[in-house]
Symmetry: C2
Subunit: 104 residues, 2 copies
DNA sequence: GCCTGTTTTCGATATGTATCGAATAGTCCG
DNA sequence: CGGACTATTCGATACATATCGAAAACAGGC
């Protein structure tokens, strides 16, 4: 029944991403930290962020970021990698993510 | 004891407005509708927005918008007027509000 | 096939907030 | 002052979410 926990995660099409989804994704400090790390140092596995939250909590944050069209995930061996989707998002919400990240 | 309910409302200094406050304020459709109306038609009294929510609910939204540094309120007779504070906010978070409003 | 490492799901808790109706309080006018 | 108008606060409800630890699922190596 619990069909594939790891079953390649679903990512929304840009059309399906609402401004509420994006704002919600950006409105959390932990999630912004994730974005900043990805931006500064490139793709990273979920377990390598060194943030002060439990792994299960991080997983929820990744879900929110996926829903907001901000990250995309792909599997590599037993690790799940995260990559930014901002360039793509920017065609729909120009400057939004940049404006938020600029606000240290 | 309940010292002045109407006692001129408090507005945060720009220094005290966090990016979380701003994003939170922007992350609600009703609040964005308020902002758009103010932007399109200028200052307005609280009771003149014609939005489908109770007056008490609107009051909470105004509080969130004040906290996010997005509006300022001033009293005129028995009405409380709302005015945008975006130009000011923009010096601290350049382009943020504009980017959100551009996302219809 | 079994163990190890990685991530997600589940169950539970605590907190935040959007919403309403009713009550309260300020302002103006007669 | 009393009444009408305007807006906020209070109390209650419903729902969302951030958080954790434990359990479950997948990939790789022995």
């Amino acid at each position: 029944m619990p069909l594939g926990r790891w079953a390649s995660v679903s990512h929304p099409e840009l059309d399906e991403v609402t401004v509420d989804d994006v704002l919600h994704a950006l409105a959390d400090p932990t999630r912004r930290a994730i974005i900043r790390l990805l931006e500064a140092e490139g793709d990273r596995a979920c377990g390598t962020f060194g943030l002060p939250v439990a792994a299960s909590t991080l997983s929820h944050h990744f879900r929110a970021l996926r829903k907001g069209g901000i990250i995309r995930q792909y599997d590599e061996g037993r690790k799940r990698m995260n990559t930014l989707r901002i360039a793509e998002l920017d065609t729909k919400f120009p400057g939004l993510v940049a404006a938020v990240l600029a606000s240290a």
